[in-house]
Amino acid sequence: MKTLSEPVRREALAYLELYPKKEAALLPILHLAQKDFGFIDDEAELAVAELMEISPVMVRAASRFYFMYHHQPIGEFHMQVCQNISCTIMGAETILDHLKNRLGIEAEQVTEDGKFSVERVECIACCDRGPAMLVNEKLHTNLTPEIIDQIIGELDPSRKIK
């Protein structure tokens, strides 16, 4: 049975104070749980339900509805590549292909060493600077294959470029 680490637990309980109904703290607390556990599986859902004293099925409904919650491990560096219209017409497909080649994985997969994962996402609201992607919490814009190589090189200097 998973339990949240003590600091995260305290942070989570503070969220309950921000709303007139405790259920409203569910999304922020799921974000915290995901940071703590890496992803949200059945046990993580139960841990959240227990902490908030709400029904597990409510936690399940939210964790499965929202795309940002992952149900299996993702890479240490999670690369979310925008594939919507503005980025597509500026070459997002080429960027995605290059990224997949360099990392040797398909979209929605994780590299064997667990370092990188790639996900295709919808518009991330920086369309004038496409193609764009988020790597964890950092936004990268005006991407080119060279910039992709540079980003990978900085995140994992020992990596052999394929």
């Binding site: 940002m68 219209i85 919808e122 518009c123 920086c126 369309c127």
Partner: protein, 417 residues
């Protein structure tokens, strides 16, 4: 700087998010004036009505009128939800407002809450907005320390808490009633209206929901007066709007222009026209939910009614410019994939219809389409309009019909027979 530059006035200064600097440039002056001169909530609402400030989240409902719907005699608490879920493809204006001038938004929130009698405001921000969250949270903390938010603001007895609520990746939560459900920890399923949020909103209480840009305009109305604000724009659409332009133009970016500026001017003058050596093929004028326009259809003023009369919509003011290198079937495939992916699934016509349209679009894009597929789309699409809880289905239907009708030849050209 041209006189009409309002909400982007301080975008050029990277230090604008710092409270001391923002104060030195006049931010919070209107908020302090309202409290010190004891300006009445009714006067503020009337000023915003006179200003003809329209909702900038896409639907264009007059903000002052909306505020007026909130009952004043209720014993229940009232809430403000600021819609910072920016997800309409092509749109990137709210991110800029949050990152570049968070105190302008907070001043707008404070004035709005004072006008409607609200003591708790939630900023519902899309989950991927990590930088905006950090910047706005710091701004809230600083403003509270300075006594501009929080308890007994400036000794007036007025309390206001501002809380950021992060979403978790679902475009539909930008729809106002889905946003309310999401705020309450539920799945982001839109609610049937009525009741409207002004009466039954967050936690069953009266709630105002406004877009980031709408609220950011409020301090400027109080600064210049509603009448002067309205005059910048057109008769029914007061003030300015942030237009985002992306794709194949010389100068993609964000531009603040008076309401009513011709779309043509935005594309050719402001953004410099299509990139060198290329020619214009089409413009999606206001985010991916708005019907596409051909080059000879751009002589329309950018205001809510005029755009509707022209068979499209102002939407979020996010123009996507396509040159001749773009494959329209690819754009259609990407566009319909988005709605199929983002349908919340509670209404059959939307859930099934968006998926079907996407499947057909993909089939055509992959080169396996037949001419009858185009008629199938034209038959299917109207079934998504008006049969559902929210307008997401319609947000694909109208653009799908327009793109198929206007680019039929290009679609047919991709087909074998």
């Amino acid at each position: 700087m041209p006189e009409h530059i309002l909400v982007t006035r301080n975008f050029q200064y990277p230090d604008q998010p710092e409270l001391k600097i923002a104060l030195s440039r006049g931010t919070y002056e209107q908020w302090k004036r309202i409290l010190s001169e004891k300006i009445s909530p009714e006067d503020i609402i009337n000023e915003v009505k006179t200003a003809k400030l329209r909702g900038q989240g896409g639907a264009g409902f007059p903000a002052g009128v909306k505020w007026g719907f909130v009952p004043q005699d209720t014993p229940k608490p009232k809430y403000l939800c600021v819609n910072a879920d920016e997800g309409e493809p092509g749109t990137f204006k709210d991110r800029a407002l949050l990152e570049k001038d968070p105190h302008q938004l907070l001043e707008g929130i404070a004035i709005t809450c004072f006008a409607v009698g609200i003591h708790t405001a939630y900023i519902y921000m899309r989950g991927e907005f990590y930088d905006p969250q950090r910047i706005v949270q710091k701004a809230i903390d600083d403003a509270k320390k300075e006594g501009l938010l929080g308890k007994d603001i400036q000794g007036s007895g007025f309390d206001l808490e501002v809380i950021i609520h992060m979403g978790a990746g679902a475009y539909i939560c930008g729809e106002e009633t889905a946003l309310l459900n999401s705020l309450e920890g539920k799945k982001g399923w839109p609610r049937l209206k009525p009741p409207f949020p002004a009466l039954v909103g967050a936690f069953g209480c009266p709630t105002v929901i406004n877009n980031v840009e709408t609220i950011s305009g409020v301090p400027h109305i109080m600064n210049m007066g509603g009448e002067a604000f309205q005059k910048i724009g057109t008769e029914n659409d007061g003030g300015t709007k942030l237009f985002g332009i992306s794709g194949h133009v010389q100068k993609p970016g964000l531009y603040e222009l008076p309401m009513g500026t011709p779309l043509k001017e935005l594309v050719f003058d402001v953004a410099g026209g299509v990139r060198d050596g290329h020619e214009l093929k089409a413009v999606i004028p206001g985010g991916s939910s708005t019907p596409i326009l051909k080059p000879d259809e751009l002589d329309i003023p950018l205001e809510f009614e005029a755009m509707m009369e022209a068979g499209t919509m102002l939407g979020s003011g996010a123009a996507i410019v396509l040159d001749e290198t773009v494959s329209i079937p690819e754009v259609f495939m990407v566009m319909s994939r988005f709605y199929a992916h983002e349908s919340c699934g509670q209404c059959t016509p939307c859930r099934e219809g968006c998926t079907w349209i996407y499947k057909i679009a993909r089939k055509i894009y992959e080169g396996n389409g037949v001419p009858a597929d185009l008629d199938l789309i034209l038959d299917l699409a109207p079934m998504l309009d008006g049969t559902t809880v929210c307008p997401l289905g319609a947000a694909l239907a109208a653009p799908a019909i327009a793109i198929v009708e206007k680019f039929r030849d290009e679609f047919l050209g991709m087909m074998k027979n």
